[in-house]
Amino acid sequence: MPQTTRTNDDWFQFRRILTDERSRGIVIQVLVVLAIVAFIAFITRNTLINLERSGLTTGFGFLADPAFFDINQPLIEYNSQSSFARALLVGLLNTLLVSILGIIGATILGFIAGVLRLSKNWLISRLVTAYVEFTRNVPVLLQILFWWALLTGLPKVRDSVSIADTAFLNNRGLRVPGPITEPGFMWVLIALAIGIAAAVVIARWARKRQDLTGQTFPSGLTGLGLIVAFPVLVHLALGQPLDWEIPERTRFNFRGGINITPELIALWLALTTYTGAFISEIVRAGILSVSRGQSEAAFALGLRPNLTMRKIILPQALRVIIPPLTSQYLNLTKNSSLAIVIGFQDLVSIGGSILNQSGHSLEIVAIWMAIYLSLSLATSAYMNWYNKRIALVER
């Protein structure tokens, strides 16, 4: 027990800091911040000292050095004389390519599977259940290896499966004709742009008219016609300025056209089916979250099942579906880095080569993390915007 009144007062003050909920909260927060900052400072210092000790330099200047290695099928101009930075860009584009293709594929597959699983047809719903349970319970790495093994087990080059002598399938991928554009082709692209713009205008007009008069207009079909038919007509009118380069057989491989490598296909299939299974569950949960009364009311008003699903159920289900869907998109993007096991040259694979050639491991790892973080944040930002847009306006 404190002896004098003065120290008693001090003691009381000190105790008050700990007993008072608000000041205790501040003390704890200050301690936590202190600990975190100390930890980060320790790690940074430790790293810098060790780097200096082992004679390693840090900095991103090395990215301008030539890479000296080749990359299979870069999406942009690249050769072994290009810089490390450009090699990384090639890797990033490959990551984006497979992620976007995967997101599109997984979304379509997931929505179809999610709806089908609720089907009244016993066989269909059980088949979908089997697909979902199987794919989402097997590690995606194994699935990537499985598809790759399957694709490299396709016929060898000399026994390629020919599809109408224009496309060829073998264990080195699917080789399809590549487009060759001639000068007039620009007009076809302009026609396409006009078609898209017109379709958007018509859709808006039709919507407004329906809001005002209740009359419907087949804006979807009209739009499709404008987007597809108009450019095709312009293409024909200009004497077909778009030509196709048919792959031709050479001694070892095919030459010309575009080769879609088995690595890309395997990765895409694995990511699509794996993430699609998760998305189908999210979609199913979303649909089930919409009360039965909604569809019954729609049927009572005479709407057909198809229209009920599109206009009544899905819009309401979407607000349940979108937030978990976002994390699936993020997962898919990050899972694409498993490409490294089959040699698809994504960001991680090419970054790994650079790491090895240059020895700048810290910088490469920092770049990897920064890029994946940016991709994830960008995806989240877009999905949050979309989520807000489709959210129910409550009155």
Partner: protein, 343 residues
């Protein structure tokens, strides 16, 4: 106000952190190894002949033998080694960080690795070069006929760079199929994902020997690069580098003087050859100079024998690799293996 307080705390905290903590030191590796009572040696994850497990599950092979000799020289017991299996990608960080004391993993000695990555190569224990293997059925006799072919390659190796250089200089196009590990790259080649597969010529012979039908595959005559493979240590610890370097030199000199695992104990008692006496410690004080025991070289040689014994056991005529000594013969036998004198 709040932000000011927080940044104040941050400043105090970082000062505390900076004054209080130091990083682990790597300076005296020799002392560290002695204190730990074991040598931490980085080896391949598996490459026939160079680093593989025997039927009892022990690591063995050409690269493994060097570390056993080094453990013998330093600790007097070749079995006091902790094996750390490393891929082409994580081998360098493992050495930099001090996870291993020496890297003996068929690593090519290049200027940038020596200088920029901060390592010291202690010598060359195998003079290699990059070669190619392809199916005999292709009918190609030379690499220059491989225009348009798909080539499997392990990523992150000097072979990746040599390949790009060679095909660019010769104006030949190819499809690179880069794969993370040697094992997977080999499988891809076997599945005919690629027409050819490239790696160090010694590794090719090793790989071919594991195919079900080795005769269906041919090794191309062109060797497109110099690949001097050897053990390496961290830069900045010259005493340890000396120990590692002279252990390797001792194995090579032992072959020259006819010292083998079988006769080393006998010769260590003293001979009429002063060079042998100095090396094995019955004369002079070479061991002390290195900071090792007098009989360090005896233990090093006793581990797996001299260079020739090690070579023949793991890579030579009677192994599945059946490699010629070639460049790796002693200078006196027409090769370029030449260890400085031990005096």
């Amino acid at each position: 106000m709040k932000i000011k307080a927080l940044s104040g705390i941050a400043a105090v905290a970082s000062v505390l952190a900076i004054s209080g903590v130091t990083a682990p030191a790597h300076a005296a590796t020799l002392d560290d190894v002695r204190a730990a009572g074991e040598l931490k040696c980085g080896i391949n994850t598996g490459l026939p002949g160079f680093a593989f497990t025997d039927d009892k599950g022990n690591w063995t092979g050409f690269d493994v033998a060097y570390c056993r000799a080094l453990a013998g020289a330093v600790l007097g017991d070749p079995n006091k080694v902790k094996w750390v299996n490393l891929t082409g990608k994580n081998r360098f960080p493992a050495l930099t960080s001090g996870e291993i004391d020496v890297l003996s993993r068929n690593t090519t000695w290049t200027l940038s690795r020596d200088v920029d990555l901060g390592f010291t190569f202690v010598g060359v224990n195998y003079y290699d070069g990059q070669g190619f293997i392809g199916r005999t059925a292709l009918g190609a006799k030379s690499l220059k006929e491989l225009d348009g072919a798909s080539i499997c390659i392990q990523t992150g190796t000097t072979t990746q760079l040599n390949l790009a250089d060679f095909f660019r200089v010769n104006g030949i196009s190819y499809e690179p199929v880069p794969i993370e590990t040697n094992e997977e790259a080999r499988k891809a080649y076997e599945a005919e994902r690629c027409d050819a597969y490239t790696t160090d010529a010694s590794g090719l012979a090793a790989t071919r020997s594991t195919f079900p039908d080795p005769k269906a595959h041919m090794i191309f005559p062109e060797i497109i690069s110099k690949e001097p493979l050897g053990p390496l240590v961290r830069q900045g610890d010259d005493e340890w580098a000396d120990v590692a370097r002279w252990t390797l030199n001792a194995l090579i000199n032992a072959e020259e003087f006819g010292i083998t695992a079988a006769n080393v104990e006998e010769l260590a008692k003293g001979t009429d050859n002063p060079e042998i006496n100095r090396m094995l410690g019955s004369e002079g004080s070479l061991g002390e100079m290195l900071g090792l025991s007098k009989d360090w070289a005896v233990h090093a040689i006793k581990a797996e024998g001299n260079y020739s014994e090690i070579f023949e056991r793991y890579l030579g005529k009677n192994t599945s690799l059946a490699l010629d000594r070639g460049l790796n013969a002693l200078w006196s036998d027409g090769g370029i293996l030449y260890a400085p004198p031990m005096r």
